[in-house]
Amino acid sequence: MEYIMTSIGLSLVQGFVLLLIAPLVAGIINKVKARLQKRQGASIFQEYFDICKWWKKATILTPYTGVIFVLAPVVYFMTSFMAATMVPGFLTGQFSMGDAFIFVYILALGRFFMTLSSMDAATSFGGMGGSREIYISVLVEPAVMLAILINSIRYHSTTLSAMVIDYNEAFFTVSAVLACVAFFLVMLAENSRLPVDNPDTHLELTMIHECMTLEYSGKLLSLIHLGSYLKIVVFLALFGALYVPVEIPLALKVLLGAVLIGIVETLNNKMRLFKVRVYLGAAIVLLLLAIIAE
């Protein structure tokens, strides 16, 4: 019992630490993008200021919305936080409350409520965002499953702590490298980044994640953004801990991953919505090869 309490305590502390650095990582991504586009860019602490600003503002609701609309950002934030407590490699040690599948389904709970809320404001913007979010998640899910599969075949377990990459065994093997590339592609799609979705706009060309959150303001908006930033950090940490076959500290991996996202986002355009299935098909094929090669 004491072991469980301590471990949960440590997990929660880890969640808070990741929550604290999450806006910073988002700031770094934006800074990298700005510098590569020869702009000065906002300060890397800008996301903290934004969150504080939204937190102070009043929340405006439309008369059509109901409980789901207010509940959804809370659940979305909580699922991201819960996911942050489950990431292996920082403080959690061997203890876990759920394995990789549960991790995926907890994040899916957040998506469930966000897509529901997109329909609650009774406009076509939200519905369009929700519909496309579902479309992308359907294509991402098989790739996520295969990414879990490959590590669980290698380490005979599905718990995240057991799936942490073993550098002696998987140092630049074919399957490790393929899985690493594939998971990076999956991570971009899962976090609504370019080339799948554009996090900077909610206009017609993209209209996915940002479009779902169009009606939100005030504290609810800041919760959604915190949740999104946290989700990126969680995925970067997971990417580093489970799939990058190089032995460097995890914090450095997260930082380098953020820089890499910035570079990729500068080099790529948003692709057509129905091209996404080709993009994610490529990720699935890479994972398939990785599993055969394992």
Binding site: T59, Y64, V74, G98, M119, F125, S131, S137, S157, L223
Partner: protein, 662 residues
């Protein structure tokens, strides 16, 4: 007399409503439903008895002559499911059935009891004859229940389609029983387990048994009756058909697999697994395209039966690869998911009934904003939708997680590239299924219950009467209870599986409390507590101050939005329709009615139909072939009596010559 025998008698007593005086229709209805509640409650108690007894065979002392009734752990698991569903859905029907006052409500009550009775009899029959007879009663009674609103043409054709299909299934099952029974020289289950089938005969028995039971459980491509029959039946009947009757097929198939045929042939399990996986994905894909609430649920039943059978098939494959210990996980997954699907599909069919009761329509395109009109129904439906999308803290995730774990187990034993490919296929299918199911139920709930009313039918919607809400609420509570504390159910089902003769094992999956060193982990209770703690903190920080003062109309590029501008259900599934158009083959027709202007003010008419792949590509050609071949017999059927007398004479002469020559 024990509970089991008493429950059979009480069900029989309930059928008295068939001959109840017409003046006291309401009394007949209440009497019938009370009988089924009491009897189903007794079934629950007696099933616990079979489940908790130490795995050995329990015989009820009710055997007469060749016919016998008996129950073991395997029937106990399904009796539990039947009893729970029977109690809850009957409570719901106390109020829901009143909608049928004046339209054969007495028949509805009596047949309801007879339906439950026949299901229980199938589950406790101890020989092939009793099984087939009760199976046939079940088919006929459910046909009559589906056909209850026979004034509607659609209902009539759905019911007859169901009748034909289910009899094809029964025929296949009878052949399977015959093959097994004749090789064992007896038709009692105990003797049939000692049959000496081998080679081709055994393969044939397996194929017939699987075809028959797969048809009854609606696996693709044998599912075509299901999306028509379920929406046609009264809602509580569809809840029972989908929640329980489909699982009875799993019961029968399990009996064949465990006891009569064996599972040591690799391809037996492979077929079951692949058919299950394909049904799971295609089922949920078609569900996402439907706009009729009950058809969505019916196709989703195809999906969930697919998941259940894929887990079962995975177990069979593991068993045939000589890992009986590991196969226990997969069989447990199938049972747990069967139980949880019975809860959630019961709940959602009942809430579809509520929505029909409130709006008079099943089409979600006409709804919107129901959550404000009927908040409790909306809450319970949300829980059901979450469960069917396998969200955490619901029973749906428990079954889904165990299924995923059983496939992971298979993956870890699969060394060869072919097996790896098979496992990859399985995970791609499961991943697609899981995410599409989420989309499907977000769409159903979001369009029907959230946003604004799309048509006036929503305006007169109102909250449901007490017993209907009680039915929904009980299911919802059970879903959450199983979802947060699944260890009781999982251990029970694991015991059942071990009792069927597969080697028992410890608990390799840490399912209750977290820890380390497990091979896989899920501790929903712990996650729930932590989640609730975080939730309290977040909610307190938001609602601590007065935040929500302003109310403003939704942003719509500067205009006031109308309710018609909301996303429609058809629009919502458009990206998926486009992504999988190779499978779905949507037939679209857009017509422009141009009057004055070419671009402004013109009227658009959009038609969309998505034909069922198997209906178009398999059944229609098959039907055409049958008609063609029978019309070729037309030539000898002239219709004049003298020709038929001539035929008879020729036949006589042939027979006489034959007799003389031999």
């Amino acid at each position: 007399m024990d509970f089991m025998e008493m429950s059979l008698l009480v069900y029989l007593l309930g059928t008295v409503t068939l001959v109840w005086p017409k003046k006291a229709e309401l009394g007949a209805h209440y009497f019938g439903m009370l009988c089924s509640i009491v009897a189903s409650g007794m079934v629950v108690f007696s099933s616990l008895n079979y489940l908790l007894s130490s795995g050995s065979r329990w015989l009820i002392d009710l055997s007469w002559g060749q016919y016998s009734l008996q129950a073991d752990g395997w029937s106990g698991a399904f009796l539990l499911l039947t009893g729970v569903a029977g109690v809850i859905i009957s409570i719901y029907a106390l109020d829901y059935g009143k909608g049928y006052l004046g339209s054969r409500i007495r028949a509805l009550g009596g047949l309801w009891n007879l339906f439950l009775l026949s299901i229980v009899l199938v589950l406790i029959s101890g020989d092939a004859f009793t099984f087939i007879v009760s199976w046939e009663i079940m088919a006929l009674v459910s046909f009559m229940l589906v056909n209850h609103e026979s004034e509607k043409k659609k209902t009539l054709s759905a019911a007859y389609q169901y009748m034909v299909m289910t009899h094809i299934g029964t025929a296949a099952i009878m052949v399977a029983f015959y093959l097994v029974g004749s090789s064992a020289d007896s038709f009692s289950f105990a003797d049939m387990a000692r049959n000496s089938l081998y080679g081709y005969m055994r393969n044939a028995a397996f194929v017939f048994a699987f075809a028959g039971f797969a048809l009854k459980s609606g696996l693709m491509p044998l599912h075509i009756w299901l999306p028509n029959a379920h929406p046609a039946a009264p809602s509580h009947v569809s809840a029972l058909m989908s929640g329980v009757m489909l699982k009875v097929a799993l019961y029968g198939f399990g009996r064949f697999a465990f006891q009569f045929i064996g599972m040591d042939v690799f391809w037996y399990g492979l077929i079951v697994m692949i058919m299950g996986l394909v049904s799971a994905f295609l089922g949920v894909l078609y569900a996402t395209m439907e706009v009729d609430m009950k058809r969505i649920l019916a196709y989703s039943s195809v999906e969930n039966m697919g998941i259940i059978f894929s887990a079962f098939g995975c177990g069979m494959v593991l068993y045939s690869m000589n890992f009986p210990m590991l196969s226990v996980v997969a069989f447990t997954a199938a049972l747990v998911h069967a139980f949880s699907h019975s809860l959630m599909k019961g709940l959602l069919f009942m809430s579809a009934g509520c929505v029909m009761h409130a709006t008079g329509s099943k089409n979600i395109e006409h709804m919107g904003g129901l959550a404000k009109k009927m908040p409790y129904t909306a809450l319970f439906t949300l829980i059901g939708c979450m469960a069917l999308s396998s969200m955490p803290f619901t029973s749906g995730l428990v079954g889904e997680w165990l299924t995923l774990q059983s496939f992971i187990t298979l993956a870890q034993q699969a060394g060869s590239p072919e097996m790896r490919l098979l496992v990859v296929f399985a995970f791609i299918m499961l991943g697609l299924t899981g995410a599409t199911a989420l989309g499907c139920f977000v769409r159903m709930y979001g369009i029907a219950f959230l946003g604004r009313a799309r048509t006036h039918i929503v305006e007169k919607a109102h909250e449901m009467p007490f017993f209907m809400l009680a039915g929904l609420g009980l299911e919802a509570v059970l879903i959450v209870l199983v979802g947060v504390m699944p260890d009781l159910l999982v251990n029970l089902m694991q015991k059942v599986v071990s009792g069927t003769g597969i080697t028992p094992m410890g608990n390799p999956l840490g399912i209750m409390w977290g820890g380390s060193g497990y091979y896989a982990l899920y501790s929903p209770a712990l996650i729930f507590i932590v989640f609730a703690l975080i939730g309290v903190f977040v909610v307190a920080s938001i609602y601590g101050s007065a935040t929500f003062q302003a109310k403003e109309v939704t942003w719509n590029c500067g205009t006031v939005p109308t309710s018609r501008q909301q996303y429609s259900a058809t629009g919502f599934s458009k990206p998926l329709r486009r992504a999988f158009d190779g499978i779905l083959n949507p037939k679209r027709r857009t017509t422009y009615l141009r009057k004055e202007h070419a671009y402004f003010g013109r009227k658009l008419h959009y038609e969309l139909s998505i034909p069922d792949l198997f209906n178009d590509k398999l059944y229609k050609p098959l039907q055409q072939m049958l008609i063609n071949s029978s019309s070729s017999f037309h030539r000898i059927q002239e219709g004049s009596v003298s020709i038929y007398i001539g035929y008879t004479m020729v036949a006589m002469i042939v027979v006489l010559i034959w007799g003389v020559l031999l």
